[in-house]
């Protein structure tokens, strides 16, 4: 038996050996450049985790299974090599250094791929990883701090609100200054239909601009084309720059790739104003009321200021006590202690939760590719009851029907719903206005949560009086969030269908039909019992943009050294806009039924339609000499229906050149200089205007008791209107050292925009208030610098630093004859924002301090004296902006953070003005000034130092008269985003169908420092339009913390 067992064992052993037949392979790895051995090279059996590394002499030894087919040799900085084993036992390998394609290929205007080195203008790219790291739902915000000359401003706490982006400053005084968004070649509508009232801070809802529909999860790259040279081929729509977005597409691969990504983000309110917590609401001592023979103290419920009695725990009948007693909830009239409720405002806000899930399928073979992706976003905001949901479906696919003929289609669908976002500005429904500019400091939000009485009426802290429960100025904020809220829906479809036909290998013919259309519905409701009359309004926008395009492209070599490329194209652009608005008047007949027909009076309606068409012809011709010198010329002509017949055609040319002097033979020995290019360009772009400005039409109004009304319009139209023109010159230098370990990109530009189409005010006694003219000139000049450094780069660890800095000098050179000041908006109080001759755009004007000859502020009667005439108080435009991004990568671990810097710029703060006037802010009660008064620093008119003590309530009044007291500088440093992620190594997944797994955490808008603003975030806007610089009742900023999981199957 033992013999048999041994025989079996031997057989088994041999059998096993036979199944696992192995062999040992050895070899040496040397560098192809100089033959020296390369240590540390990874040698891996392809498709397995089995591997080894070369030793100091470049030698390796590896044992592989018989089935093994290929060895893979990998080393950083060298081209990876795959070698078939083919039963060899010695495999020696030479490895080539990886010549980094320093500049690579970029997609430029109209979807033409060009080598970046051949471009004469500045292009900045932001990769999808960088975008994902910021974890923003609005793609515009993810560009903040990432590229020089790109100025993004947004209110971080707004829920689906506007984001404004400016490339190289303001070009158009009255027209659009936003760049054009192009997604996969489809120009997208990015309009903002916020009312003028919202834009100037007088109250309303910030509904956002349409580019927020673009789904960050589908983005592969974002290219920023900044100056007219880059965008000349886009014509007038690209006059302010173009943000070109390419989405992810399918690739040739085995099987169908599936990626799934999940994001969970928490957001909470960030900076809130610093309030005083010593005195409660009212103005003077408590009142009294006698009930059932007992005397009680009462507060001044109706007063929305906080100059009342000091918090000393006194027993007072407060607002909730009155309601409880009135409604029979308590039998007797009760009281509550009069005490501070520090941090009470923060208690109103909730933690917002955002869930974003994306699943994408992609696949392809050598003739077809496709990608299908679905993203679901579900967010609740920091304001109670606020929520938004988004569904994006996107499909792209392409097929080579024959070797020469390719067809492709992109289709995207978006469904968006946003409910109960906060109103903004100086509105009765704007919470920050009610919490900070006015209010009472002893608010207890816990007591306010229950906002309805048993009889269905509202419980508000702002009762008219002890006997009158109706709201005086302010509703209960929970009532607003749950009952009196705005709601928005948007459905959007955009995409293109087209073909590419290679007539010969040099001549290509392409055609595309592109479409973007959406319906945007906005509703607002005010129920019975609110401080304002009940109301329901519905505003519907239907916007369509169609582009039909044909292009011929030609590439050829004219000689051995000179090559030529060119294109010729034609485009028709059709724009259509329809708006339908209806609102109840006089209140709702049936309470709680929110329909426009349910109006006590006839509902008011308004209805408008606008159309515009632009036909275009364009062409580009480019030459390159030895890939050393490049020259490009473009020419485009537009015919616009919005300009007067007979004068509606305008042409714009551009010339760009670049010289890659690092490729000169003379400089080849300088290995440290990897790439150097000098570039320059000149371009002209036209900009047309809105439809219907060229002929006279009359305005119509609601009829008066059956008699119709029309009126002469307030604006004189102009039958001789010309297009606006911008002319720009740009020059730059690109330098890359040490194989991209260090790089610089420097640009200088100067632009002049003239023949601005302005609606100029005319003196009212002419019978009109404005007329449309061509006038005015704006100049922009500036510098943009990008620098990237990789201080450490090894196999396992790398550290990248990216810095960008830009400065734009903007000046309104001239307006029109006799006009030196063009008002853009007036704030709800006191200040105006204008374009003023000789100043940067958007000057804030108001009363300023008076100074004596020694520069001391003059104080009269205890208060600062203000100038009679308004003075220039600054502009929102910054002096310079910059961004810094640090990334650290260790094997699969990735850590990066971005800091955003802004220097210069001013805001007029309505919050500061009213918050001081009404005794809400900390500085109105510090150091016992309410008891002993305060002495303002300055001199009396006679020159002696001021010694008059005033009550802080008088100082508050001073803020109301003297606008300069409310100006805030908008400098800041912000820690925009922090990202930590870990990608599990590929060799973990051999047995599982997963090909990649990444987990990460991100933080957003975490921290701000270096700011002058004590009470609110100086990064503030209520619109993506031109009116910037007036703050008031804006939503507080929010911080977000998120977790994400990406799986690739």
């Amino acid at each position: 038996m033992r013999k048999f067992t041994i025989l079996l064992a031997l057989l088994a052993f041999l059998g096993v050996q036979a199944v696992q037949a192995q062999q040992t392979i050895t070899g040496t790895v040397t560098s192809a450049e100089d033959g020296s051995p390369v240590p540390g090279v990874q040698v891996v059996v392809k498709g397995t985790t089995q591997g080894t590394t070369t030793d100091l002499d470049g030698n390796y030894e590896i044992t592989v299974e018989d089935e093994a087919e290929t060895l893979v040799f990998k080393f950083v900085g060298m081209v990876t090599k795959e070698v078939p084993i083919a039963n060899k036992t010695v495999i020696n390998v030479t490895m080539e250094p990886e010549v980094k394609d320093i500049e690579g290929v970029v997609v430029t205007a109209l979807g033409v791929s060009r080598e970046k080195k051949s471009l004469g203008y500045a292009v900045q790219e932001v990769s999808s990883e960088d975008i994902e790291k910021t974890n923003q739902t609005n793609v515009i915000n993810s560009l903040s701090g990432k590229a020089a000359g790109v100025n993004v401003s947004t209110s971080t706490g707004s829920f689906g609100g506007s984001s404004r982006i400016l490339l190289r400053g303001v070009h158009s005084i009255d027209g659009n200054n936003n760049p054009l968004f192009v997604v996969d070649g489809v120009p997208m509508n990015n309009q903002n239909f916020n009312s003028y009232t919202t834009e100037r801070g007088a109250g309303g809802v910030d509904w956002g601009n349409a580019a927020l529909d673009i789904n960050p999860s589908d983005i592969k790259t974002v290219s920023v084309l900044k100056g007219p040279s880059a965008t000349a081929l886009y014509g007038s729509r690209g006059a302010n720059g173009v943000i070109m977005i390419e989405t992810k597409r399918g690739e040739e691969q085995e099987g169908i790739g599936v990626t799934w990504s999940s994001n969970v983000t928490f957001s909470e309110v960030g900076k809130l104003p610093e309030y005083q917590n010593k005195y409660g609401g009212g103005n003077g001592p408590f009142g009294t009321v006698t009930v059932d023979g007992e005397e009680y103290r009462t507060a001044y419920y109706a007063m929305d200021q906080s100059w009342g009695p000091r918090f000393e725990g006194q027993e007072v009948v407060q607002w909730n006590n009155v309601y409880d007693w009135e409604q029979g909830i308590t039998e007797n009239l009760q009281t509550r202690p009069w005490e501070a409720n520090e941090g009470n405002i923060r208690n109103f806000f909730e933690t917002g939760l955002s869930l974003k899930n994306n699943i994408a399928f992609s696949g392809g073979d050598e003739n077809h590719t496709f990608r299908l992706s679905y993203t679901n976003t579900n967010r609740t905001g920091v304001f109670p009851n606020s929520g938004l949901q988004k569904n994006n479906i996107s499909f792209n696919g392409s097929s080579n029907l024959t070797d020469d003929f390719e067809v492709h289609a992109n289709i995207n669908y978006l469904n968006y719903h946003n409910k109960a976002r906060p109103a903004t500005g100086y509105s009765d429904y704007s919470h920050m206005q009610k919490f900070t500019q006015w209010g009472q400091r002893q608010f207890d939000f816990g007591l306010m949560k229950n906002y309805l009485n048993p009889d269905g009426t509202q419980r508000t802290w702002n009762r008219k009086s002890f006997t009158d429960p109706a709201p005086k100025y302010a509703d209960n904020p929970y009532f607003i969030q749950h009952e009196a809220y705005p709601e928005q829906w948007r459905e959007r479809v955009y995409g293109k269908i087209g073909f590419n036909y290679s007539i010969t290998d040099k001549l290509k013919f392409t055609g595309n039909v592109k479409k973007d259309f959406y319906t945007d519905t906005r509703e607002n409701r005010i129920p019975e019992g609110s401080v304002n009359i009940s109301e329901f309004e519905r505003d519907i926008y239907e916007v369509t943009e169609d582009n039909y395009e044909l292009q011929l492209r030609y590439n050829t070599d004219l000689s051995e050294q000179i090559s030529m490329n060119g294109l010729v194209g034609a485009n028709r652009y059709d724009y259509s806009y329809k708006n339908n608005y209806a609102a109840t008047q006089g209140g709702l007949s049936v309470p709680g039924l929110f329909a426009t027909d349910n109006a006590k009076s006839t509902p008011t309606t308004s209805d408008a339609m606008r159309e515009k068409r632009i036909n275009s012809l364009y062409g580009r011709l480019g030459f390159s000499y030895k890939s050393l010198v490049f020259l490009d010329m473009t020419l485009r002509n537009d015919w616009s229906s919005a300009l007067p017949e007979g004068n509606n055609s305008y042409m714009y040319p551009s010339v760009t050149g670049s010289f890659v002097f690092s490729d000169l033979d003379a400089l080849q020995d300088y290995e440290w200089l990897s790439f150097a290019k000098i570039r320059g360009s000149w371009a002209q772009v036209g900009n047309d205007t809105d439809p219907y400005q060229t002929s006279l039409t009359y305005a119509t109004y609601d009829s008066f008791d059956g008699s119709p009304r029309i009126s002469i319009p307030n604006t004189l139209n102009n039958p001789e209107l010309k297009p606006e023109t911008t002319e720009s010159i740009e020059g730059g230098l690109n330098l890359v050292f040490f194989n991209d370990r260090l790089g610089f990109d420097f640009t200088y530009y100067t632009e002049s925009s003239y023949d601005q189409i302005l609606t100029l005010p005319v003196t009212a006694s002419s019978g009109y208030s404005s007329k449309i003219v061509n006038a005015g000139e704006i100049e922009n000049s500036g510098i943009e610098i990008m620098m990237n450094v990789t201080p450490i780069e090894s196999n396992d660890f790398s550290w990248d630093i990216n810095v960008n800095w830009s400065q734009n000098d903007n000046q309104v050179v001239e307006l029109a004859e006799g006009i030196t000041n063009y008002q853009l908006a007036s704030g709800p109080f006191n200040v105006t924002v204008s374009a003023a001759e000789g100043e940067p755009y958007g000057v804030i004007s108001g009363s300023g301090y008076q100074y004596d000859d020694n520069g001391n502020k003059i104080v009269a009667g205890g208060m600062y004296a203000g100038t009679d005439a308004p003075i220039n108080l600054g502009t929102y435009l910054p002096d310079w902006t910059g961004g810094l991004t640090n990334s650290f990568n260790y094997k699969g671990l990735d850590f990066s953070f971005t800091i955003d810097v802004r220097s210069g710029g001013s805001l007029f703060s309505t919050t500061k003005m009213w918050g001081t006037y009404s005794g809400m802010l900390e500085e109105t009660a510090e150091n016992n000034i309410r008891e002993y008064g305060m002495v303002l620093e300055g001199v009396k008119p006679d020159g002696s130092p001021n010694d008059v003590a005033i009550h802080p309530q008088i100082k508050g009044l001073n803020h109301y008269f003297l606008d300069e007291m409310n100006i805030i500088e908008t400098d800041y440093f912000k820690l925009r985003s922090v990202n930590l992620s870990y990608t599990l190594p590929a060799n973990m997944f051999n047995s599982v169908p997963i090909q990649g797994l990444t987990v990460g955490i991100t933080g957003r808008n975490l921290f701000m420092w270096g700011t002058d603003s004590k009470h609110f975030d100086p990064e503030h806007t209520t619109t993506s339009g031109n009116i910037q610089g007036i703050e008031g009742g804006g939503v507080p900023p929010t911080r977000a913390y998120g977790f994400k999981l990406d799986v690739k199957l």
Binding site: S641, T763, S766, G767, I819, Q823
Partner: protein
Amino acid sequence: MKGINKILTGFTVLAVLLLVGCTKDFEDINSNPNQPTKANNTYLMTNAQFQLMDVYWDEWFNGRCGMLWSQYWAQNEYTEESRYRARPTTDDNYWMEYYRALNDLQEIIRTNKNADNPNTNEVQVARILKAYFFQVMTDTWGDIPYSEALQGNDNLQPKFDSQESIYTSLNQELKDAQSKLDPEATQDVKGDMIYGGKVNKWKKFANSLRLRIATRMKDKAPGKAQTIYDNIADGDVFQSNDDNATFVWGTAVPNNNPLNEDQKTRTDFSVSNTMVNTLKDYNDPRLSVYAAPINDESSDEYVGMTYGLRNSQAAAMSNDNVSQPGWEVYRPDAPTILMTYDEVLFIKEEWNNFDGSYYKDAVKNNLKFWGVPADERAAYLNTLPDAPTQDEVYTQKWIALYMQGLQGWSHIRRTNTPDLDPPAGGIYESVATYMTEKDVPTRRPYSQNIYDLNRANLDEALNRQGPDQINTQLWWDVQ
């Protein structure tokens, strides 16, 4: 190569044809589908009247200016206007609103000038209304563009006419217009919400307005004023309350009286103690019409609000304890009053040296206008003297002009009767640098719009009239 040539040609033809050649659609595309390109004078007339009546009567131009500075009303909160603050946005807005609305009247006149078959009555009505509101504007601001105004692009820097020349021209305009009104004309005046196109009434209105103009200028230019007065026939002015020039509002939003709309959400105004106490002194039955009882109308008591308190003092008082304006002036269809019969009688009384010949008639008709019942009227008239003093006549006129804030304020400026107390809380800080407690504002400041856009002409006016302050006296305001 042939194939390529074909393709290239085909492409070019395609491109040019399909995409570019069709600019002939452009005119269609750029014609505004939302608004008419031709005017309709009827609709222009209605709109002009609506806008002018709204602007003249609303809570800013009337409520926070005329009604306060003649001390008909007082403010319950944010009391700066009653203490003589002229808010700049008010002047900016209302300067523009008046001229824009007047431009609609000017358009009616313009289109008729070029028409084959002009509607002459329509033109005269437009001229009369224009004259009325140009007087309103000059009484508010002083020298204003008049003769060169409303010419659009043809004159964007109209000169400022002196108030004297404006008053002369206004009288001339009205005289000419009323003479050209033709009751036999074939075309009606349509869209007229004041008199429904009745030409006879417009004639009486024009002449009654000339009486107002003559009276206002009689201290400064007595000779001219007398000539005007003498040349207006008795039969050509208002004969009864049926002739009153008023604009009756609708009952429903948006056609309701602007003060009615304002009081729905705000309680800015109460009846001032000056008015309430005067009415109480007279035992005047109009008290219950002009004012509402206190305590939310659950009592019988009327208390006037102290005029001109400081903000903090006013806010500390409860609105329950003072009389709000009466529903008669706050109801949705309460009219904008342009001119009433009793004013004509008061004017005649004044020109007859206060001899009492028209006095009681004037008061009686005003009582009728306000709906005081006959027995109360008779009782009240019995308490009035047959031979009143000048002060008594002026005081009764002031009472009668209630709600016509600008007219009440003009009356005070001209006659200083009744003698108003200064604001109880002292006058507004920034005008205190150049006004004293005893001054009542004599005008409003010019709009910033003029400084920006018509500066040279404005400077000329300032040189002639005086500094742009609220205590600079207007031409007709002699004392």
